[in-house]
Symmetry: C2
Subunit: 331 residues, 2 copies
């Protein structure tokens, strides 16, 4: 294992130190317990939007803290849920008097710890609503999940919720829009290589040199099947078909097409894959009106990508387009 | 070799197709010859800023086309200079009536082809100035270079020049500021792994599992020496020391610290490395007042990073801070 790290046990802390030092205008990092908060805190009277989960998926979630997206993010150890204490501290800190929305990816550990944290925060008088993201169409149950996994579509949910909170929507309205976003976003991914968790020191699974894994999870959990390594067109077709079969658009819909890198895949390959994916989407009568291409929801240095499609309406489009200023997403 | 590609010979074209489809509001891609142009072209009366070079370093340069940075970018084949015809077409297209600045990374092929292109454009009546970027302190001459290589510091030069052009500076002024930026920016990198050029199909060099290469070039050209794979603190110290020894700041200077990923290194490791690098910079009495962390000047899927320091003054700081809107850099 070669990584740009010192003590593997301190890898998350070291990265947070760098994040805080590089972006003092956008966020601050709190310790004991650890969470990342928007600089200046949630604007008074606005809903706070909080997410979190295991580290190793950066920039998700810590890189989305700032204005127009997350008011706080809670990083656990690599591929490990943050503790309930961490999440509860972030929920309380993000309360600007109008309540807090917790956005939770559907993994057993996250779901349990967020549930406990919500109860703790409510005991302290914070109004909290939760929304569960489960956009991965690959498998129904998985290594760490009952039900579908939450993966790259989480970015879409966080952007929509953050924009709704920024315009002053109520907690009920922000939560409703986040749930609408969850209902309209689907993802499937592919791995070309495994990643290595720093404190483990060896690849998280074996993948032969001539095979790729279709439907991979963002922790290297098994997907649907392995196929001979082929071209971007074949892979993009398989991913888009699975996503659209599940979304079942009636035709004529306007969508966001998001091609996400798993961390170790060059941007040029992501753009090439986007071109192929877009051809497949449009051949099915669906119009791509918004796009995002880059490594936003990653698995350390895993090579691979995922394809996310979100069906837009006028309101979701406006929320997607609304200004955002965070370390990883700005417009 | 496993990559998200179809025909390796079409990899650059496929990626450009995706870039164009994803960002129609920012840029257009021209073919025969191939170059990327800012949507709507250079604003009349403004200096055009053009750069280019071999592909495989994305988002450099094509991802920096938009407002406030490059008016056109010219991608060659992977790790291969664009042709003089390509560059000449981009220079002519980027002329908004106030002349064009060509920003050239110091590689023999790029230098020759840009020189020819400048002559061709001048024959067609376009006023052109050129600036050569050679920020890599690692080696004096290299596999593809007489003199120092141009690497991640190119981003700084392009940002400064683009901002100067955007505020309406003359060609002489834009070129002068770009040269000032070149004079104040230095970089050194490290590789943890090699990359594989698609049409070659095997890694561009061999690096044992327990060694890293200090002073690597962005095409995998040899650096200064190989050392046992160690920690981020050791590597960051070596890179920063080499950069600052060369820049020789008197102390008290304000700098931009830019930690750049080579393509296959996770963002979390880049932030951890940034934290270490910043400690070393500040221990030498230099103040970090601006930061950039991410994979912007890459070598396909190479694992590794580079550290860039740019000594700022009030004008360079203002130009760095000026609004920019491109696929890869926006604020």
């Amino acid at each position: 294992m070669k990584k740009l790290l010192d003590d593997p046990a301190e890898a998350v802390t070291d990265a947070l130190q760098g994040l805080a030092a590089a972006h003092p205008d956008l966020l601050t990092v709190h310790h004991e317990p650890t969470y990342v908060q928007r600089a200046g805190g949630t604007p008074p009277g606005h809903v706070g939007v909080v997410s979190g989960g295991g580290s190793g998926h950066e920039p998700l979630h810590t890189g989305f803290v700032g204005s127009g997206m997350l008011d706080a993010a809670v990083p656990g150890a690599v591929f490990t849920s943050p503790t309930a204490d961490q999440v509860a501290a972030a929920l309380k800190a993000a309360d600007g008097g109008a309540g807090v929305l917790a956005i939770v990816k559907n993994y057993t550990g996250d779901v349990l710890n967020f549930e406990t944290a919500v109860e703790l925060a409510q005991l302290d008088g914070v109004e909290v609503a939760s929304v569960l993201v489960n956009d991965d169409v690959a498998v129904e149950d998985s290594m760490y999940t009952a039900g579908r996994r939450g993966v790259a579509g989480t970015l879409f949910v966080e952007k929509v919720a953050g924009a709704a909170a920024a315009r002053g929507d109520s907690l009920e309205a922000v939560a409703g829009l986040a749930r609408r976003a969850v209902g309209r976003v689907r993802t499937m991914g592919v791995a070309l290589s495994a990643c290595t968790v720093p404190h483990v020191g060896r690849p998280s699974f074996d993948l032969p040199d001539d095979e790729v894994e279709i439907g991979i999870g963002i922790h290297g959990e098994p997907g649907r099947h392995r196929i001979p390594a082929g071209g971007a067109r074949d892979i993009a077709t398989r991913l888009v078909d699975a996503v659209l079969d599940d979304l079942a658009p009636a035709g004529g819909e306007q969508v966001l097409l998001f091609v996400n890198g798993m961390g170790g895949t060059p941007l040029s390959e992501l753009y090439g894959t986007y071109a192929r994916a877009r051809e497949v989407v449009e051949a099915r009568g669906v119009r791509v009106v918004r796009s995002l291409v880059g490594s936003y929801v990653t698995s350390l240095e895993m090579q691979g990508a995922s394809v996310t499609v979100a069906v837009l309406d006028d309101e979701l489009t406006a929320l997607w387009d609304a200004p955002v200023r965070t370390p990883a997403l700005t417009w």
